[in-house]
Each structure stands twice: as structure tokens, then as C-alpha cells.
């Protein structure tokens, strides 16, 4: 495929997406449900791409996502809830006096959220990154639970409002804010992955001993990757806070980490576009399957199993099927390309012809 054709395709794709977004924005009321799915997918995509940076590209199996997202989310929430609304939010114990006067615009708060997450990642990374594979996963998982418990603890009622959660977090003014921010975050991570540092990360993933013999300081590079990933995870958390408007410590349970991990594995470890694709499939897929949760009657016969919770059973089965057929995730470690798309459809077509006994190359 020629370069000019590709550019043309890219321009067309971007304009179609933009047109859809503008259309949705203009009919906000009618499509609020679809908008919320798109926004959630994009936010999860940022978290998934950030997770891919450590897990897929640097080979560090870290499961601290929920913890870092909690830090980002609480930072953004505490700094952006309007001062006049705070008394109502902290109705039980009142808010810490010093904190109650600080209010920041959304973007600085978001950056600060990411920064706190990154600093904390640096602090826990120093001891924890000496561990390998599963042990690292367990340590980071534990860390994320600690963060959640600390946030929920009654001793911090004046700061985090303990288990009562935070409300009245300003929502996004339009669909473009979260989408633009998410695209920017993903773009930065992609640039990093394609740089000399990204290559060093991949070298560490492939073979630590060899990477070290190539003069790559393992610890420094692992820590860099871990901190940058945590920064963007924190930002994703901040975006999630603004998206949901209400958060509490229960939002950031281990299941959130598993959701992100699921997206990364489904999309393919080491594929950014895979993570984005996975994020949309998982988030939207869960919504599409909602009809399994409603009782279904055929004539006068009540179909068994169709009740609340059945959706997740179907969803899990579908996931297992996908993982069985695409053991390396949908994209493997490849990235999206127009050639790949064309090849995919060609294969699909020729395979069908073969199955029908037709001649596959008789074009």
C-alpha cells in the first residue's frame, strides 16, 4: 500500500470519528448512554495502555493499577469539588481546614493526580522492583489494597471522607475533553515506546541478562517505566473520577485492576492498538450483553438462567473463547495497520471460499 493511500485512509478515519463525536455532542440528551460508554472505554484505554507499558513492553508483571487510579481519582476529586459544595460532601466530620480552601481547575488537578501516583510508584518501586514476575504482581496487588484501605479508614475522614466517598465532582463539559485528554496520554506513551527508551524497555522484556550486558541499567529503566506508567494510570483515575462524578474506595477494588488486565490480555500484550480495541470491546461488550440480565419469556415459558448476573457468565464464556482462539490476544504484539486490516478481511473471505470448496485464488 502506498504512503499517500495510507495518509488518505488515516484522514478519512479521523474525520469519520470526529464527525461521529460532533454528532453525539450535538445530540447529547438522546445519546447520553452511548457517550458514557465511549468515554469510559477511552479512560480504560489510557489505563490499559499504561499497564501495557510495564506489563507488555517492559515485562514487569505489576497489578497495582487500582491503587494508582485511586490516588489520581482522589487527588482530582478533592481539588476540583467546588468549595461551596464541600460542606455538603463532608457532612459527617467536616473537611480538613487547610484542604477545604484549595480548589484547582481540572487540568492542573489531573496533572497533580498523575504526579502523586508517579511519586508513590517511585517510593514503592525501589524495594518492590527487585522482585520478579509473580512476586512483583503479588507485592503490587497488596500495595493497591493498602491504598484502598487507607483511603477508607475512619482516621482519614477529614481528608478522604472515609467510606462515605466523594460526591459532586465536576463532570466533563463536553465529550471532547476526555477524548482529547485520553488521545494525548496514549500519544505520549506511544512516542515513548518508539523512542530509544522504549527499545531499552523491550530489551529488558526480552532478556534481562543480555540487556544488562548492553549497558542498560536494569533498575533505573524499570523504575522509569513503572513511574511513567503509574503517572498515566493516575491520570486515568482522575479522568474516571470526573466521569463518574461520585467515587468511593469501593470503586478501586482489585476487580478494577482485573478489568484493565483483561483488556490488556484480550488486546494483546505489547500492542497499544490492541489495548484500545480491547478496551472498547470489553466496556461495550458488557453493555451489549445486558439483555441477558432481564427475565425473558417466550410465550408463557420463562427462559431459565436469564436473570441478574447471567450477563457476566456469558461475558466470561465469550472471553474464554476469544482467549482460546487468539492465545496472544486479538492483536498479539502487532499494531494496527491498514495492510493488516485488508489482509484480515482477505483471509476471512478466502477461508470461506475454501470451506465452500471454491477456488481461493480465482479472483
Amino acid at each position: 500500500m502506498k504512503k499517500s493511500t495510507k495518509t488518505l485512509f488515516n484522514i478519512i478515519a479521523v474525520s469519520i470519528i470526529l464527525a461521529i463525536l460532533i454528532f453525539l455532542e450535538m445530540n447529547k440528551r438522546k445519546f447520553s448512554y452511548d457517550i458514557s460508554i465511549i468515554e469510559r472505554s477511552m479512560i480504560y484505554a489510557v489505563a490499559a495502555v499504561a499497564m501495557n507499558l510495564t506489563n507488555g513492553f517492559t515485562g514487569l508483571f505489576s497489578l497495582g493499577q487500582a491503587g494508582f487510579m485511586a490516588i489520581g481519582a482522589y487527588t482530582v476529586a478533592l481539588l476540583t469539588i467546588p468549595v461551596e459544595a464541600r460542606a455538603g460532601v463532608f457532612y459527617v466530620t467536616g473537611m480538613n481546614e487547610f484542604l477545604s480552601k484549595i480548589e484547582l481547575p481540572f487540568i492542573p488537578a489531573l496533572l497533580l493526580g498523575g504526579l502523586f501516583a508517579a511519586i508513590l510508584a517511585g517510593l514503592i518501586g525501589i524495594p518492590v522492583l527487585r522482585l520478579k514476575s509473580d512476586y512483583l504482581a503479588i507485592a503490587t496487588l497488596g500495595f493497591s489494597e493498602i491504598i484502598r484501605s487507607i483511603i477508607a479508614s475512619p482516621q482519614l475522614n477529614m481528608i478522604t471522607n472515609g467510606s462515605y466517598g466523594l460526591k459532586k465532582i465536576p463532570r466533563f463539559s463536553s465529550i471532547f475533553v476526555p477524548i482529547a485528554l485520553c488521545c494525548l496520554c496514549i500519544l505520549i506513551i506511544v512516542l515513548l515506546i518508539n523512542s530509544s527508551y522504549g527499545r531499552a524497555f523491550k530489551a529488558i522484556r526480552e532478556d534481562e541478562t543480555a540487556a544488562e550486558a548492553m549497558g542498560i541499567n536494569l533498575f533505573k529503566h524499570k523504575l522509569t517505566s513503572f513511574m511513567i506508567s503509574s503517572f498515566f494510570t493516575g491520570v486515568a483515575g482522575g479522568l474516571l473520577a470526573s466521569y463518574m462524578g461520585t467515587i468511593d474506595s469501593g470503586t478501586f477494588k482489585i476487580t478494577l485492576t482485573y478489568d484493565i488486565l483483561l483488556i490488556v490480555v484480550l488486546g494483546g500484550m505489547g500492542s497499544v492498538t490492541g489495548s484500545i480495541l480491547g478496551s472498547f470491546l470489553v466496556t461495550a461488550g458488557r453493555e451489549w450483553l445486558r439483555f441477558f440480565d432481564q427475565p425473558l419469556k417466550v410465550g408463557s415459558w420463562q427462559v431459565p438462567l436469564f436473570r441478574t448476573g447471567f450477563r457476566m457468565v456469558v461475558f466470561s464464556v465469550l472471553l474464554m473463547v476469544v482467549v482460546l482462539f487468539y492465545s496472544k490476544g486479538l492483536m498479539g504484539s502487532k499494531e494496527f495497520s491498514w495492510e493488516g486490516l485488508v489482509r484480515f478481511f482477505k483471509n476471512l473471505f478466502t477461508r470461506k471460499q475454501k470451506l465452500n470448496g471454491g477456488v481461493s485464488n480465482g479472483k
Binding site: I188, N194, E206
Partner: protein
């Protein structure tokens, strides 16, 4: 001491009570090819790893260009267990990690090839250029270091062309034939701009023809890059063909060293390799 590049002084390595290397001293002079040989379990790889930073000797010093690179003395439990020469215990402790050692100018290859398997041939070599990059993380991540990046790519490409690997540049490293993988590993080591090249059994798993090619290749590379080479090897043909000097280890002790011709006729070496003649 003159122009020696690498010098080991009274190195001893003990794993608990087992002495793997016993009071071993050696030196590698500039532009030499020096081989370390010995039967299996003689302690070659252990001695080699003092230089690569994988092991620290229990006691002993390693100098690189007459500068102290590694030094250690028995401590803790080892104090009681230490079986080496008590007069040679050194005082200082100097430690270097493998990446610091590479930065000093010592490059190495591995016994069981360790390429970055899923990456392309070009990327494999390009990664070795990363440590010389001066731009910071932010600049690199935002691709503002394009001048440096172009320079890195140019150097890596030149190296591939020189090693006749340019045709494979976009191939995945693990898809190369075995001999070419060895070749690539050496090219990758050269990309770190070393003055000393360490080869860990470079001919392992090669057939006689490939071994001959490798010998010529090592000699040529040494000339082209103005290198000093230190290698461990089992293939006697290769060792005898290219080495300037040879050290022989057996059960951790140095039993001989000298020119290839002397080693070939040394009775102790023949005994160590073939056993003592009994029924001949």
C-alpha cells in the same frame, strides 16, 4: 605492568566449602587474543564471570586498563571457610554491575545465545547504542533528540553492513540461522564500542566449517575494531588456531599457560583432558 588491558590478581571463588577457582592470576595484553580452556567444571566460566560482573570473587582483584574494577575479600561466613592464600587477601571492596562494566568498554557474548529474540536484527544492534545516548528521558520520549537518533541508526546500520548482516536487518532475530545468530550477537556486542571483547564459548554448537569461518571472523574483527579478545572455548581447533596465549584451568587451579604450541605438548594439559594413560 605496561599495556595490559585486563589483569586478574589472586582470584579465588568459593561456593561454601567448594573452591571453584583457586588463587588464579592472569593478564590479557593489548591486541592479544587470549583463551581460557579446561575440562568441564574446571572453573572457566566462573573466572570469566569475575570480569563480566555476574560473580564477585570471594577474594581477589580485577584490573581493567590498570584501574581497579573489581575487588573483594572474604567476609561473614566465608572468613572461616576461606581456603585461599591468606597472604593475598585484599583490603578494598570495589563492585561493579554488569551494565557499568559494559560502559567501561568491556562487551561480551553468551554461551547460550541471548539475543532479543522477538525484536528485529536492526533493533538488536540499535539497543546497544542506547547507553551512549546523552539526551534525557523527556527529550528522548518526545523525539526531540532526532539528531542523536539518526546518528545511532547510522552507526548501527554501518555495523550491520560491516558484518554482512544488512540483508537481514528487518528479520526477527530468532528467525536467523544459528551461525548468523552468533554473528549477530558479536555484532551487537561490538555496537557498545568496546576495547575488550569477551567471548563465552563462541563456537558452541557449530560444525567444523562454521568454526573455521568463526575463527577467521574473530581475527578480522579484532583487526577492524582494534580490539583485545578474551575467550573461553572447548573447540581445540579454534583455540589453537587463533589464540596468542592460552591459560589452562583444571579443578580451579591454573595448570599451564603459554603459547598454543607449548600447551599442545604440555603433559599436564593432555592428562587433564584425556586422563592418565593406563593401558597403552
Amino acid at each position: 605492568m605496561g599495556n595490559n588491558v585486563l589483569r586478574l590478581e589472586h582470584c579465588t571463588m568459593q561456593f561454601g566449602g567448594v573452591v571453584a577457582v583457586d588463587n588464579f592470576s592472569m593478564e590479557v595484553n593489548e591486541h592479544e587474543i587470549v583463551a581460557l580452556i579446561g575440562p568441564n567444571g574446571a572453573g572457566k566460566t566462573t573466572a570469566f564471570n569475575f570480569v563480566t560482573g555476574v560473580y564477585e570473587p570471594t577474594n581477589g582483584k580485577v584490573f581493567f586498563h590498570d584501574e581497579l574494577m573489581v575487588a573483594n575479600h572474604p567476609a561473614g561466613k566465608m572468613k572461616k571457610l576461606y581456603k585461599g592464600d591468606p597472604d593475598q587477601i585484599c583490603e578494598k571492596i570495589v563492585r561493579k554491575t554488569p551494565d557499568q562494566i559494559t560502559k567501561l568498554g568491556i562487551a561480551r557474548t553468551f554461551q547460550n545465545i541471548r539475543l532479543f529474540k522477538a525484536l528485529t536484527v536492526f533493533e538488536n544492534v540499535l539497543i546497544a547504542k542506547h547507553m551512549h545516548a546523552k539526551s534525557g528521558l523527556l527529550k528522548t520520549a518526545m523525539h526531540l533528540n532526532y539528531r542523536e537518533e539518526i546518528q545511532m541508526r547510522k552507526e548501527a546500520m554501518e555495523l550491520l553492513e560491516m558484518q554482512n548482516l544488512a540483508a537481514y536487518r528487518n528479520d526477527i532475530a530468532s528467525s536467523l540461522p544459528y551461525g548468523q545468530q552468533r554473528h549477530l550477537e558479536i555484532a551487537r556486542a561490538l555496537a557498545t564500542n568496546p576495547t575488550l571483547l569477551l567471548l563465552d564459548e563462541p563456537a558452541a554448537g557449530m560444525n567444523p566449517q562454521e568454526t573455521d569461518e568463526l575463527a577467521a571472523f574473530i581475527k578480522k574483527t579484532k583487526e577492524d575494531f582494534n580490539l583485545t579478545v578474551f575467550l573461553i572455548e572447548h573447540h581445540m581447533d579454534l583455540v589453537m588456531g587463533i589464540s596468542d596465549r592460552i591459560y589452562v584451568l583444571d579443578f580451579g587451579k591454573m595448570i599451564a599457560h603459554g603459547l598454543p604450541a607449548d600447551i599442545q605438548n604440555n603433559d599436564r594439559v593432555i592428562q587433564a583432558y584425556l586422563g592418565v594413560e593406563e593401558n597403552a
